[in-house]
Symmetry: C2
Subunit: 107 residues, 2 copies
DNA sequence: ACGATAGGCAACCATTTGGTTGCATGTCAA
DNA sequence: TTGACATGCAACCAAATGGTTGCCTATCGT
């Protein structure tokens, strides 16, 4: 729910890789997500639980199998609510940069 | 330059706050960025240097003053290259979620 | 020239983080 | 029912992280 959890979840390359793999094939089990990852099953499980906590991954139990699904909503919210805020001022910010950096030709 | 550095830089709330403050008023000094932050000057300086390393902040020396400018480019790249990738499959992913979660009405 | 101002560097510290191993639990299949 | 499979829980560990303090350097104003 909190945006901070989403940012922190996205900060780790292994977790982004897990999201990538879910995007490539949605609804994978923990075991399935493990192979190719150079770490123990428990390490992967910890990463997945952080992704769950950030609501980036949603889970569906099916017997003894835990299927993991990518939830694109939080990423979309970051795009719209956070990045959008910077996007609005992007041209002005770039202008500031150019002005300040080019203004002093003696550096 | 690396996208990982950008993600990690964005993972800390204090650093996001610094970006917010630069967005509100671009080209501030370290001292100026310090007040309101509940930490030492050195702590803020460390955060700023991480933002610099991620190229999210660009710096311009002016005498003894170091002016900090927001660089919107890396955020924009994340929006386009990374979030865009998920955006493309967003409808499908949401469909997957709905299907799987609604399909089992007995949970 | 000198004090005050703006910032940098380095050592140190506590907590968090990413990982491990060992063991326990629940479910499927023969 | 029994063994194998899929996962969870907890203790533990090393390294990274976010913060501190103390001191040093450089520049501005008087």
């Amino acid at each position: 729910m909190s945006m901070d959890a989403v940012f922190k979840a996205l900060a780790d390359p292994s977790r982004r890789q897990l999201l990538d793999r879910l995007q490539a094939r949605n609804g994978q089990t923990l075991a399935s997500l493990c192979d190719g990852m150079e770490m123990s099953r428990q390490a992967v499980a910890k990463h997945l639980s952080q992704l769950e906590a950030a609501n980036l991954v949603v889970v569906q139990w099916h017997g003894r199998e835990k299927l993991h699904f990518l939830n694109p909503v939080p990423i979309n919210e970051i795009a719209e609510r956070w990045i959008g805020k910077y996007e609005r001022h992007r041209v002005q910010a770039l202008h500031d940069l150019k002005t300040k950096l080019e203004g002093n030709s003696d550096d």
